[in-house]
Amino acid sequence: MNAPLRRVGVVVMILFGLLFANLNWIQAYKADEYRNSDYNGRVQVAEYERKRGNIEVGGTAVALSKETSGKLKFQRSYPGGAMYAHVLGYKPVNLADTGIERLENDFLAGTSDQLIANRIKDMFTGDQTGGGNVLLTLSKRAQETAYKQLNDNQVGAKRGAAIAIDPRTGALQALVSMPSFDPNPLASHDTGAASKAHNALEQDKDRPLANRALAETLPPGSTFKIVVAAAALENGVTQQTEIPAGPSFTPPTSGTPIRNAAPSICPEPQVTLREAVTESCNTGFAQLGLRLGADKIKEKARAFGFEQDDLTVGETGEDGGLPVAASRTGEMAAPGGGTDPAALAQSSIGQRDVRMTPLQGALIAATVANGGSQMRPYLVKQLLGPDRTTVYDAAKPRELRQPVSGPVAADLRDMMVNVVKEGTGRKAAIEGYTVGGKTGTAQSGPNTPDHGWFIGFALDKNGTPVSAVCVELEQAGSGGSAEAARIGGRIMAAAIMEGR
């Protein structure tokens, strides 16, 4: 019986050889793939072993980690609740992280290359210090005002966005998307509850998870007239140049007449450009657009930042950041080639296929206020080490582009100031400051209420721009743009108060 016993020994050798080969396959060849798998909870547990850094606004932590006795040592919490949700994002255990939490994850978690010196120090001292801290550019007061005013808007709009920028630097002062959501349940260590909360938000028809201020576009309505006016000013038109207007205008080859918002607005056949801006004269701008041609308008819109697909809002020096949707002027060509006059006329008053993000609106106002120079928008002011003393990265503002020359910017600024002084944007006025702006009312569809828009800026006594804003109230109906102007003014006033 010894021969078969020996063969059994060989069989056992082969079986163990298979085990050994298979373990090599898993633990050597596939190790990295398995180690970094999304299903691998170890990465998360390790991540929660170290205290994650704060995200702070004006000296207050709006995202912080508290020690727990659970398996995951630290619980992420957001004391501001829904107010900062679209900026901060959230850091869930099992879902994808978003917002600044995602953008600055390495630094907050303490795993960034920048923090290597800290980690080496900790190894020797035995301390378990946390991750780095991220300081945001937001103004606490402006953000709170924007959130409250937007959610308590007097026209009953359920969706919308508000965004405020420092025109001189591009630093964001406020960013709100309505409706918002509370990120706290999403960061729950009970992953089942977190997924449930996330699913509920995803299924909400008002899409609270969407960042309307940066990532969604709507027809801008009359706010787009600033772009058309800029194109006109660069092509021989002055503020006092008379342009054709009238109660109604039907573009050639199209039977749909363009009318003004009210019969009292520019019924006379000719108005000055300044009057057309102040009263938001649709017939005037439709004909002005036809005179300029589609190319000039498209080119000017592009100069202001339309059609840019890769803009992000994060740190100034960095390329990464929260993605910004591209604003578009859309197609204005006739099917047989050449320009479609009807499309061009409607596009000139911000309808048809023109689409704009609230950020783009704020950038237009900021550029006008800043003498024609558009600064790159950013959210991260400073990266502060775990010890709170070492500054790793401080924002260095940089110009993004120069859409218009100084004199043209000055003319636009002058006209926009007049809109708030005498025209449709009166509600945006702030006492002691020079406020300029432009309202917009955009048709949302055949049977749905209009969107209300306001873009604007505030200058201090010396004429220095201190804040630029864009407020959008989706399907706000009549009075929407006036309410947007009022909210815009309040946000800028709050930003000014904090800045002082």
Binding site: M1, F16, L19, L23, Q27, R35, Y39, K71
Partner: protein, 477 residues
């Protein structure tokens, strides 16, 4: 004649080395989990060392020529198992209670206590069974007992037999045992006895069909019946791993007894045919085969339902992968993230912390035990002993293959304990009994034919039945 040496001192040194390794493992665990090594880290290793030292002394006295590598190898595995289970308890304890966790608390503490019991049982078996041939007297009793043990959980109401959906237990109050673990030993003894008795009939009196010699039904009958009953019961108990184990055990003992390769071929064809049939039936008919079909599906693509049916296997693979070549170090892993890490998946849990190199070492230790068992079978002079030791050693190796192959996605996963590592008293006791039998056979194998050799040389109770020389049945065509 070769000079027979007992090599007991080698056994002692190896045993001490194993215990030093176990203590070092415990210290590393504490350093990683508690950030400090408590003054009593060595207590479990010392307790185990005392128990094993006791068995060593019993071996010195009762089986002085036993293989010296078996005890230290098993002791190392058992010690690592206890150490890992204690490490698992530490991970489960609240942070502030970790440093004061009692030595005999939790799964690790229970395993330590079970080890004590199992080793005493093994020593008792060595004391009672002075010659392995005496086992053959009880072969039919053991065969019957094996069937009964396998069947008990199946006939008991679920409330006495079910744990996590598997009906494998006898539960009385807080006490529970898994009778199948012991049935393995009983059935193998019966197989060995019966096949030796019928050996010549089986290999000579046969009908040739399709070029393969088949023995007559009346010769193979009893063993086939016993085996079939076990397999059927296990299939309906949904204990696929154990039925696979019994199947392999039976085929291999048959092969060793008859020396006919055709049995292996028939076994393999039956096995793969059966597996394929069960898979097809599982997907169409369902019923008792649905479970097998399910497991095969999970095996083919565990990542198809990573949070549902495939969860455990996926987590097992991720655990092993995270360990990589060197592992996270004892205490450096996350064993609590892996369901059933204390039983079925202990090999993966350990693998996260000791890595590929550590697991390879453990596999080599297992291989050493199996090959030492086979070597005892080769060297022993009686057929019953050869078949018994060979069958037991192969069964142990097959069990390691089934469970480790299962958790590493080499073969479909079937619930099996990892011998000497998994938490659980039944498995520990049954496997220590198996080792006691191997020790006894190896003692018989290495003992010099003439001359003294301690009090075990002349077992009391008269000479045992000499199976090797016993006449076999007369062949009537």
């Amino acid at each position: 004649m070769r000079l027979a040496r007992s090599r007991r001192n080698a056994e002692l040194s190896l045993l001490l080395l194993a215990m030093v390794l176990v203590a070092a493992y415990a210290a590393t665990v504490e350093a990683n989990v508690l950030d400090t090594v408590t003054p009593d880290f060595w207590i479990p290793a010392a307790a185990l060392g005392l128990v094993f030292l006791g068995l060593h002394l019993v071996i010195r006295w009762l089986a002085p020529f036993a293989d010296p590598a078996l005890l230290p190898a098993v002791a190392l595995l058992n010690g690592i198992g206890v150490g890992f289970l204690r490490r698992y308890d530490l991970a489960n304890a609240a942070p502030e209670q970790r440093e004061s966790l009692a030595i005999f608390a939790g799964t690790g503490g229970r395993q330590l206590a079970w080890t004590l019991g199992a080793v005493i049982l093994a020593a008792a078996l060595l004391a009672i069974m002075r010659d392995h041939r005496s086992l053959s007297r009880y072969a039919y009793t053991l065969g019957l007992a094996g069937i009964v043990l396998v069947m008990i959980p199946a006939v008991l109401p679920g409330r006495f037999s079910e744990v996590n959906g598997a009906k494998l237990w006898i539960r009385l109050g807080g006490f529970q045992i898994q009778p199948g673990e012991f049935a393995k030993l009983a059935l193998l003894t019966f197989f060995a006895y019966y096949l030796v008795r019928k050996r010549e009939v089986l290999s000579l009196a046969s009908r040739r069909v399709l070029g393969i010699d088949f023995p007559r039904g009346r010769d193979l009958g009893p063993v086939l019946v016993v085996w079939l009953i076990s397999i059927l019961v296990l299939v309906f108990e949904k204990d696929l791993g154990t039925s696979l184990l019994y199947f392999g055990m039976f085929v291999v003992t048959l092969y060793i007894a008859t020396e006919r390769v055709s049995w292996l071929l028939i076994g393999l064809i039956l096995f793969f045919g059966g597996a394929y049939l069960a898979y097809v039936l599982g997907s169409t008919v369902g019923g008792p085969f649905a479970n097998f079909y399910d497991r095969a599906q999970i095996w083919l693509d565990p990542f198809a339902e990573p949070y549902d049916r495939g969860y455990q296997l996926v987590q097992g693979l991720l655990t092993l992968g995270t360990g990589g070549l060197f592992g996270a170090g004892p205490g450096g892993g996350q064993p609590t993230l892996l369901p059933e890490v204390q039983t079925d998946f202990i090999f993966a849990g350990i693998g996260e912390e000791i890595g590929l190199f550590g697991l390879s070492a453990l596999l080599v230790v297992y291989l050493l035990i199996v090959e030492r068992g086979l070597r005892a079978a080769l060297a022993v002079r009686d057929s019953f002993g050869k078949l018994l030791a060979g069958g037991l050693a192969f069964t142990l190796g097959l069990q390691v293959f089934v469970i480790v192959g299962g958790i590493s996605k080499l073969i479909p996963l079937t619930g099996q304990t990892t011998p000497f590592l998994s938490a659980g008293g039944s498995s520990l006791m049954a496997n220590w009994l198996l080792i006691a039998v191997l020790l006894r056979v190896s003692d018989g194998a290495r003992r010099p034919v003439t001359g003294g050799g301690g009090p075990a040389a002349r077992p009391s109770g008269g000479p045992p039945e000499q199976l090797h020389g016993a006449p076999t049945e007369v062949i009537r065509p």
